[in-house]
Structure formats: C-alpha cells, structure tokens
Subunit: 407 residues, 2 copies
C-alpha cells in the first residue's frame, strides 16, 4: 500500500450500497462495519438505505448498534442488506450529499458498487475538496461483470462465475442425455468474463459449452450458424453460451435485432430480463439449419447475481477484505481511492490489495484480455481457465459410466 | 408391501432412463444396479443407452462390470448417465423390444421415468404376458413435476423444488434491494407443485413471491394485473411465480397467446425453452399498470432439473431407495408395478414404499390438491408448505439488518 496520506480525521462514517447486488456484497459491508469498531477515530457508523437516495432523503440507520452476530448472518445473505439504487446523481445532488454528510459529522464515506458508484464517489470527493470539507471517500468494488479497471478481478465475480459454471455443468449433462441445441444467455454487459465462466466445468473433450460468444467480438449471424453446424456434425449436439451484451459488426445489440421488437416492445430496450436474445438466436438456428433438432434457449437472469446458496469461498473472503481495507486505509489517512485486488505472480493463488484512483475505476470498463478468447472468437482459452479457476473455488464433479461392452 | 407374487425368475436384468432428467435420477439407477448384486437370481445387468431407443438399436452396456466406486460417483452426477429419450413407442416397437429382451435372456426390465415411461412399461408388460414370456417389468418413478398418481411425492421433485426455493430466495432479496416487478417462470407442465415451491423460502410477511400462479387455476389477465397492482400498493414491489403451463379460461396455453407467435414462430410451440410466457406477462403489466416501475421476467429453464450442486438429501436418499425396492420386489417375484413413496401419518416426516399399478401411474397426471392453493387462486397455503418443507431439506437462511434509528 503506497497511497499518499492526507492526515487522520476524527469523525463519523457512512456506508451505502449501489448498483446490481451480488451474493457477497454484504461481506464488504460487514467487513467495513466490523473493522471500524477497532478504530477509535470512527464514532458513529451510519448506513444509507438504497445508497445515495437514502442520504438525500436522510433515510439512514445506525450500524454502530447492529450486533456483531447479526452482522455475521448478514454477511452470508445475498443481495444488498441496506438496499441498493441505480442513480447517476447530478452535481447538485452531490453537493446536497456533502451538506448532509457535514450535518452528520461524517468524515468517512464508503460506497460499495461498480463503475457508476465509483463515479459518484469521485464527484463527491472532488466537491468536498473544493469546499475544503475534510472527507475521505472510499469506493469498495463490487460487480459480477468483473469489468473494473486496475484490479485482477472484482468481488462478486467469483460467486457469479461459480453459479454460471455449475449451471452449465448441469445443462451440459442434460444435453448429453437428451441431445439437441441448447443456447444459454449469460449476463455481463460489455465484458465477457461471466459468459466465459460457462467453460470452467467442462469435464471431457466433447463437453459443452461447445461455443462461447462474448461481447468483445462482433457477433455474425452466418458465422454463428456455421459454428453450430460444425459442432452438430462433430458431436451430434451443441451447447452455446452467449453474452447478453453481444453486438453485431455495426455495434447494434443483437438482442434488439429481432423482428419482435417492432411489434411488441413498449419502449424499453432491456439488455436482460427478457427472452429476446435467446429467442433471436434460436430462430437463427431454426432458419439457418434445415435439419436442426430441438432448439431451446434459456436466459440465466438474476439468479447469476442473487442465488441463495452458491458462493465462492475465495470471493466471500476477498469481498470481506476489501471492506476491511477501505476502513483501515481511511483511518490511516490515505487519500480517497478504490480498493483493487491484485494477483501475486507465482503458481499458487495469492492476492494483495492496493489503491486505485477513483477516476480510473469510474471511467474505464475493462474488457476481457484478447488472450482469454480463441482466434475464431467462439471459445475461451486455457489462459482464461487458469485465470478464473481459483476465483470460483472447487466445483462439483461429474462422473461417467465406463460403459463396458456387452458380450 | 402386499403385491401378489408371480413366482421367482432366474435371468438377466435391463435398465433404462427416459424423459426429462433430474439431479437424482442416477441415484435410482445406482440403487437398482447395486441392489441386484446382492441377489443371485440376477445374472448380467444391462444398461440401455437412451432408453427404449437403446434397446431397439441394441446400444447396450454391461453394468455388471461397473466398479461400485464409480457408480457412487455416478449417483452424485446430475442428469441421466445412460442417456434419456422422449419416445412413445408403437405396439410394434414394444413387440420388438420383447424379442430383444428374450434374446438377451432378460427376465427383469426396469424403466426409470414419468407417466410416458410408465405407459411404455405397461405395454411391454402386457405384450410379454400375451406372449407368455416370463418378464417382470418395474417402473421406477422420476419427475420434477411431482405429478405421478399413487405417490405422496416423486423422486426428483424435492431437489428441483429446492432449486426453485433457493432461486426465489435470491430473487426476493434482489427485488427487496432494487424494488420493481420481477416475474419468474417455473416448470411443471400441468401440475403446480414446482411453481408452488417458490414460496418455501419466504422469510417475512412482506417476502416474495407475493403472487403464485399454478396451472390448476385458470389464468385471467385482468385479474393478474389487479393482483400486481394490489401488491405494489402494499409493498411497493412485487415478485411473481408463474407456471409455464398456465392456461386461460378457455384452456389455451397463456404462453401461446402473445402476438409474437404469429409473427415469429417457426412451427414449434414450446412450453419452455423460450422467453415467451415471461415476455407476455411483462407486457401485460406494462400495458395494464400505467405507473409500473421496471418490469422483468426470468425463465428458470433447465437449471431446475439439472443444476450441479443443489440436491435435497431426502430426495437423493429416496431416489436411491425406489431403485433398490424395485429390484428387491422383482426378485421376490412380485408382479410388475411402479414404486410409490407413501408418507406415514404423524408429526415427524417418515415414508414407506408400496406398489402402484402401472396403469394408474401411466394414465393419470396428478394435479395439486385444492387445499394447497388459496381461495383467490394466486398463492399457496400453509398446507402446501407443511407438505413440501421436508422434501427439500434445510434451506439457506437470510438475515435482515435490525435497522436502529439514527438519533
């Protein structure tokens, strides 16, 4: 940790959660709250209900009085215990936020979330400095998309990736037993990390997903049909993982290309929460492959970020740690930053934590490295598997009958 | 066990798996194969690849030689290890089946599956008797739909119900943190048991799913919109569980009512594997509720029957046991039947196993009892929860902040 120090502050703290929840976001909340109890510099610890919205409406709770045992149960509970919000505040709202923080005697503001949340943290930090109000602002990272710049990976990704890997292990075994074409849509916006996780549970050479389409590569309908045809010729069945964020070569979302849109939409182009992309890809296969067997498409949906009971132990531990580190660094007087998880070189998985500028986290989404995507743009590489395996933890195993010949 | 005896047979055995797989169907397979090793009456134990299709094409393997340790791993593996099939055989194909069983010296035929599988077993049994070929045919029950007549519940249901319950626990916490309207489509064909399982993880009075629609009650669009409006007025958010098999008062599948169908379908009306029903219900709300917040629909899809890592221990144990019982009863000379799980009266969960006529299992699908559905037809009852809780095992728990007031 080499962040510059700004001098230690004595005062209250406030924390909020923002953006799409994850199954470990409460670990970060609890890590911060329990760590603060070890530091006399922090007085009260306030929780804002539904993030910035809760600050602006002064809908706050006193986390200082939450029993530690209940906090430990909260840490194991999926989704944001304080409630979350999707909000890009105006400068005025950020100014109002500072006014309220001042009134509450808050010197430490912790905001858990993704890029947008980091952007809010950055604006609040900048305004506070402009007003010469001594406030330390820490962004605590969270996103299943794994797209925050400056980090090896992001809390929330490991557990979501574990869910996706287990989902595909089951879908693959299902497809093996009743062969056909199964297309499964995975979250991740503009980053392919979560879709790529579909390949983590492959057990054999013929195991699916046989094709993996990530938003880092333009999606070409004809190539897709050809890819499926090739897999069908080889294995007689096909499992496809496709990212919700796929775009065509002109940059349009594939999920909005369907003819259905014009007929039935009510104005909202949703990236997920509809079956449109899956239906579009199914239809492409039914049109393009004359002899296609049963084609179906499933959309994993919110389960990826909320399923109660599938958690990566590594992810849970690290999510707790980024919350703790933010508080440790804040009370030590470090300047406002985000907390990055860095991977140590070497064969054994080991991480360290370091500061990363709010601006970097806020402004740039991180795509998958090219080395994680095969040349044909329809699968993951061993490099990706090596990267992601330690993050999801030990997956369940599947077994196969040896299949002795009948004599 | 009071089944009539038909005299003991000495010979080989053959087993197959049929219909949609489950995460515990291999428990039944392994239960039967390992039990057979204890009985000298059974010689070779053949496995048919992809059920009846494997018999007809003589695509068989020798299960007698499978190592027990590998079989134990198979038992923990989701989906059908022998491969499955969807096939309603003709009388000719059943006749051909008997010819092949004769050739192989098979005196015991075990067929794992749902209603259609029981029907095949029934026809094969009837033809064998007509030809005076001494063959004992056992149907071993399996279905996530829980719709087999003569049983308290069916192997496969408990684990699928557990998955659905955990999925809704997460979706509910997600919806609580980012309020809106979430509609989730659940499998189950004409039976509402699996959709009803969505209510098993409710933790508080305001916990979702707030509305549960099962196929045993006609779905009325206007009533649905009114129901959602009422929940929104009360809780400011709404989680809906809806069965894929919902029909309107005239008996048409709701999933086929969408305008999209005429425009975009390629001939296949699929009950699941498309986002149609979810999109239709979303659109109904967007049209019917002028002030609706963000509406999304997720379709749980194949995960419900295949997810690697979510298994009810009770379900796994009982699935193993029905396989064992079928073999025990067969070698004792009992007549061809299916194996029913019966629940013993009393406060503690306890089951016994009994025979049930193939005809009864084959011919009648079992709907949810009326006592499991509330009077308004939009929720489950305590009776259902009491019925289903022991079947899914202990669910994860969720915790809530006590939320002490800020002074």
């Amino acid at each position: 940790m080499a962040a510059a120090k700004t001098g230690k502050l004595q005062g209250n703290a406030l924390i909020g959660q923002s953006g799409g929840p994850t199954v470990v976001i409460n670990q970060s909340l609890v890590g911060a709250v329990l760590e603060a109890r070890l530091h006399a510099q922090i007085g009260k610890f306030y929780g804002a209900m539904h993030g910035l919205q809760g600050i602006l409406s002064e809908n706050l709770i006193d986390l200082s009085r939450e029993p530690a045992a209940n906090l430990e149960r909260i840490a194991q509970t999926p989704s944001a215990a304080l409630g979350s919000v999707r909000m890009r505040p105006t400068e005025d709202q950020c100014g109002e936020t500072i006014r309220i923080l001042k009134k509450l005697g808050v010197r430490y503001f912790f905001y858990i979330g993704g890029n947008d949340t980091a952007e809010t943290a950055r604006i609040v930090d900048r305004l506070a400095r402009k007003e010469k109000y001594p406030l330390t602002v820490f962004h605590i990272p969270k996103t299943i998309d794994n797209d925050l710049k400056g980090s090896d990976h992001t809390p929330g990704y490991g557990s979501a990736a574990r869910f996706v890997a287990e989902a595909f292990m089951g879908i693959e075994m299902d497809n093996r037993s009743l062969p056909g074409i199964n297309i499964v849509i995975v979250m991740g916006r503009n980053a392919g990390f979560l879709t790529a996780a579909s390949s983590l549970g492959r057990a054999r050479e013929d195991s699916g997903p046989h094709l993996v389409y990530v938003p880092e590569r333009a999606f070409i309908r004809e190539k897709f049909i050809e890819d499926v045809r090739r897999v069908m010729d080889r294995w007689g069945r096909c499992v496809v993982a496709a990212s919700e964020g796929l775009t065509d070569p002109s940059g349009r979302l594939v999920s909005t290309l369907s003819a259905r849109r014009a007929v039935d939409d009510f104005g909202n182009v949703q990236l997920s929460g509809t079956g449109k992309l899956g239906d579009y890809l199914s239809d492409a296969i039914k049109e393009g492959l004359a002899d296609a067997p049963r084609v179906r498409a499933d959309t994993l949906g919110y389960l990826q970020r909320s399923f109660a009971g599938v958690v990566s132990p590594t992810d849970a531990r690290e999510a707790r740690e980024v919350g703790r580190r933010a508080v440790q660094w804040a009370v030590k007087g470090h300047r406002s930053t985000s907390v990055a998880i860095l991977r140590e070189p070497g064969p054994r998985y080991k991480v360290s934590y370091g500061p990363v500028d709010l601006k970097i986290v806020a402004r740039y989404a991180r795509p998958m490295p090219a080395s994680f995507i095969n040349r044909a743009g329809n699968n993951t590489t061993k490099k990706f598997l090596d990267y992601a395996r330690p993050l999801v933890g030990k997956l369940p195993t599947v077994a196969f009958l040896k299949g002795y010949e009948v004599k």
